[in-house]
């Protein structure tokens, strides 16, 4: 139940976090750690792939809120992709689509970063 994993991938200048499992107050520190690591190594172009994310609680949503400000200050962004309808509903209920760019597909998000860069 409390199984949650964060895998990190680098594609060009973009870091991709792949979330898997159940993101709640107990597992949120794992995601925090991943974000802290990225910020420390000055990587601000972040795509979070939620393909295997089965649940997200309010504490999980809070993690994104905690880092977005710093990331955007460094002219980067956190883009969310590949959400299941159920997870998207949680984001949507809280109005996250107005605060974050959410894509159906990871490639779209990556492309968006490049479009902006050029």
């Amino acid at each position: 139940m409390s199984d949650f994993k964060v895998a990190q991938r680098e594609s060009n200048s973009i870091s991709v976090l792949e979330l898997k499992g159940y993101l709640d107050a107990h597992t949120a520190p794992k995601l925090e750690e991943a974000f802290q690591g990225l910020l420390k190594s000055q990587r601000f172009n972040i795509v979070v792939n939620c393909k295997d994310l089965s649940y997200i609680s309010s504490a999980g949503l809070g993690v994104f809120m905690a880092y977005i400000e710093d990331v955007r200050k460094n002219s980067g962004d956190i883009k969310l992709t590949n959400m299941s309808p159920k997870v998207f509903n949680v984001f949507d209920l809280l109005g996250f689509p107005l605060l974050y760019e959410i894509f159906k597909d990871e490639a779209e998000a990556v492309k968006k970063f490049f479009d902006k860069a050029t």
Binding site: L61, G62, A66, G95, L98, L99
Partner: protein
Amino acid sequence: MRLRRFLYLGGASLIVLIVFTLDVIRKSVELEIGGLMVIRDVLVIGGFALVYLFFELSSADRDQSPVKKLGLALIASLIMIVIAVGAGLSHDQGFDTKDLSLLPLDYPTLFLACIISLSFGIFAVLIIRVLRDLVLYKRKRGSQRNFLIFIALMTAGSASTLMLKPLDSSIFTGIFFGLTILFGIVNSFRLSWIVYLTKREKIFSLIYGFFLFGGFLGLNILIQNSSISKSLLYYSYPLKHFIQSVTIFGNVYFGMAFVSTLFHLPTAEAFERKTSEVTSLHNLSKLVTQVFDFKQLVDTVTSMTLQVCEAKSCWLEIIYTGDDIQQDGVQGRHPVVLNPGAGRYYVQVAGMKNITQPEIDMLFPAAERTLRDAVLEERQPIVVDDIVHDSRFKRFRKDKAMSGSLVVVPLLSHSGVMGILYATKETAFGFFKDDVDVISAFADQATVAIENSRLISKSIERERLLREMMLAQEMQKRLLPQSLPKFPTLEIDAISTPAFEVGGDYYDFVQLDQGKLGIVVGDVSGKGVSAALYMSEVKGIFQALGKMYPSPKQFLVKANEALTGSIDKRSFVSLIYAVIDVRAGQLTISRAGHCPMLLVSKEKVGYIRPQGMGMGLSDGPIFSDAMEEERVQLHDGDVCVFYTDGVTEARCGEDEFGYDRLLRTAERCRGKPATAIKEEILETVKTFIEHKANHDDLTIVVVKWCGNSIPVE
């Protein structure tokens, strides 16, 4: 008790008087009554038996120290010598010997014989009691038997003289006397009291033993002196036999005691130490269970180490590896020590004896790798036989301030080394294996005690927190509406249960102007105390702004402005706000990121979900632009259900209760009163999670419109 003592003493005195009278008569008048002398002897024996019983009653001092008993015996024997010498000097008139009988030549002789016999008899009784106590000290099975045999032989010897004339002798008496002496020697090996004496007591015992041996030797010689011997024989042959047996036994016994003490003297110190080790450990283990005062405990451990090992100085350090510093209530500094092996740890001197912090720092500088690190890694006691010449203390070769030997013992618990006990001696090679053993034993006891006191303080702390939480729960319950608003057109019921003691769910009502009612349901992100604190803030904002902004959207925008400044960027609040015109049945709803309202109406069964954003996520235009407002016209029998995600996200394994189940449940019981609908939803959720504890706060507010039957004004 007192009466019996009086009787014994009285009886004895009476017998003495009778015998004395008899003797005086005998002196002047020739008495030749058969058996009279035997009766007289029996009377004398009876008299001394009474004296024995009197002593037995008057002093219940069996537990007196053996040395004191020796002193008593010494005094008794000295008085006897003084009397004997005095008697020998002052009078030598003597007795007339006639037909194996003795007749005093004059009254003073008679009188003197009486005094000598009585005093010797009394002191002999005293001494046999002392000897009995010493022989039976820490008795074994055989010891009592042997002593009784000795007494029996002595009594038999005395009895065998009963029929004899004073200067007569018999073969039986001789045999009994010989056997008495033999068993006296056997009993003289019972000297176990010496072992348990302290060194000081042993020295005293040695001196006493020497004088006692000498005294009794003198007594034995003096008794052979014709004048005293004749006095005793004249007075009572059995008494003389008894006194002689006692003095010879005393002579042998005290001689043996002297020699034995002499041999025990060298081991006295070691024995004393072992005894004090056992006593200290016993005291310490008692202390462990009784004392929860950490400081006192450390103090006891260090002073006992000092005492038992005769160390020069001793100190106890507590090692902290985590953040649990100061939990033991020890005041002091915590030098940070960096240890490449075990990571960072802190050291705190919890107690020290005869040493100062600068001296400790000199021996174990915080910045260096020291013996302390070695002990932490090896978890074994380390002995430094010579600080000055030890390679681990190189810098002391020049500075002779610190010299001698040192023992470093770890306090081992299941979680690792929790402290270190140190002891130093002024001399090199001062610590032996048994010193290290006993210090280790102290360290073990200290470990248990420290763990105990930590556990206790933890449980006290937990209890305190629990009480605080109960208080918080009580207070939070009062933040929710204590009574539900009542309108003829509306049925309302609500419930809110936190997952833990306190939660972040919130619902409230506010009475607005123009017959309007504001209904709010909210959920603070996260759970527990932080959520509960934000929830009380939301309550404040709602009560303050609700009446000022009758439009739900307007209210939420203003509430967001108020909240954003004070909320952590990780946290947010979802809120749904509905305003019902209780006369017209018109509902205006706005949603700040909260779960959509479930509407079960004649026209539509579904969720009302105006666009919106959670409060605290963003301020200003982004939030207000995101907010929408929706209007719903209610009809008779329409049901509105407000709830938090504790309902829709209630879990059973991987399965969630979800929106569909909620919708179907509400639809199924739409005809029932609001209270029944609330109950049914709650019951369905509980059944779904199989009545296990809900992992999230849960709130349900049911509003049923039954207003169309009432005419609209």
